[in-house]
Symmetry: C2
Subunit: 276 residues, 2 copies
């Protein structure tokens, strides 16, 4: 059952937050939904957020609602991990609550609740399909930082469901990025095959050319650029003929001022693919 916990009018539509019991994560989860004023059979975009974020950051700071309203697109922004006092956590921002990495954890105690991959790619789509009458085929996914990683891995592994994918300043290597180190150690005991099964660079080799294009933006002054490994990702895309639209944005950082500046471009990118 879905409970509405927030419902605020925004650009003629409604910015909502829903709460529900998640089977995948074995806890209560929240996700945000922007509902334009027309919503039958419209395209759906999933936006995945970065480390330390919950479902609020994107809906409060990106200003996407203006474009979702104008173009009549439903936008779903899930939380980044399970939450609650009874859920495992750590003092490290890169592990536990707020740091789900959109994977299914295999190691105790994380495997009890940190099943974000199943939540994002299976449970949440089913909930959306059962409760709303959006298009069941015009589906795209995008995200920021850890959420950019999530968008790419979910899309590459489910190219029958997601028809378009883009990312803002995505983490592109689960093997090399310092951001992922604690998570990979704790969720997977550093199992290389498990990491490979979610690693964008490895997935591109396995699933080459499943999307006509992948669109990536990053700020030239992104303070975490050295830890994102986007150049490695672009290189591997080129080597397997996966087309990529890669834009380095002069002067921008890693933050939501960067996201707000280019969110229109991302929404229009998805719309152009999904409207066909």
């Amino acid at each position: 059952m879905l409970n509405i916990v927030e419902n605020n009018k925004s650009f003629n539509g409604y910015q909502r937050v829903y709460q529900h019991q998640s089977k995948s994560n074995n806890c209560t989860m929240r996700f945000a939904l922007y509902l334009p004023d027309i919503f039958e059979n419209i395209p759906v975009l999933f936006f995945l957020s970065g480390l330390t974020c919950n479902e609020q950051n994107f809906i409060q700071k990106s200003g996407f609602q203006r474009y979702a309203s104008e173009y009549k697109i439903a936008v779903i922004a899930p939380d980044t991990s399970p939450r609650g006092n009874e859920i495992s956590d750590s003092n490290n921002s890169f592990l536990g609550q707020g740091a789900g990495f959109y994977v299914n954890a295999k190691e105790n105690p994380w495997s009890k609740n940190f099943m974000m991959y199943d939540y994002i790619t299976k449970e949440l789509p089913k909930i959306i399909e059962e409760n709303f009458s959006f298009s069941s085929s015009k589906i795209g996914i995008f995200g920021h930082s850890m959420g950019g990683l999530g968008a790419i891995q979910c899309a590459l592994k489910n190219n029958d469901y997601y028809k378009s994918v883009s990312a803002l300043a995505p983490i592109c290597s689960l093997h090399k990025s310092d951001f992922a180190r604690e998570a990979m150690k704790n969720y997977f005991n550093n199992d290389k095959d498990l990491i490979n099964s979610y690693d964008p660079i490895n997935l591109i080799k396995e699933y080459k050319s499943s999307f006509e294009n992948i669109y990536i933006d990053v700020g030239s002054e992104d303070e975490f650029f050295h830890d994102l490994f986007i150049n490695d990702f672009v290189e591997i895309c080129n080597s397997v003929n996966q087309k990529i639209i890669f834009k380095k944005r002069l002067g921008y950082g890693h933050n939501y001022y960067f996201v707000q500046s280019f969110i229109k471009d991302h929404i229009e990118y998805h719309l152009n693919i999904l409207k066909e």
Copy 2:
């Protein structure tokens, strides 16, 4: 001296936050400045925020940067009060830090630091003029909730400096609003003449027709509407032939989802007056 504490590229310009020693408030103050990519002799808008806010809320949540960038307008968003461990405060959200009400307090201990009226209308304009080369005549002011009150009172009392004024869901009565009760008691010992010297409804009587128009937006579902006394303000404007553009926006609340939905309209309203 102005110190830059934040500098993030946003929509081709920069969203900055400055820190400086304030003579009026006798403490360190922060204000936000959006600087478009062209900034010589451009219009300047001051945006005043509501209760509990600081300089961050508007710059993170309203999405105004897109329009300030497009129209080449400098936008200054000051903090709502003095701040710091040594500054008087209370447990009440409506009194002390975060609740300056844009007045000069007269009673101890508040009068030592809570001189927001002088800060906004005298000190900050001087700082802007000395440090930037924006237009010195194309100046407008607007705000939300307590900041809408601030914008109206500052504009009516300084119509030689501010050329345009608008407000989103403004508190319009310092005498009647529950939001202002503790502040008026503590800052002014409930002195009726002092309150009148800042009260929008009283000021309209004193300064009638100093602006060709005053533009006000409010959501029809504003949960605080009964405590804003906007209808009283509109009525007194009508009675003294102060033209007012008053729009009740169907379904919107008091929050930043309301602000983000109509911020473009407010910026365009000011621009149309200031460009002449």
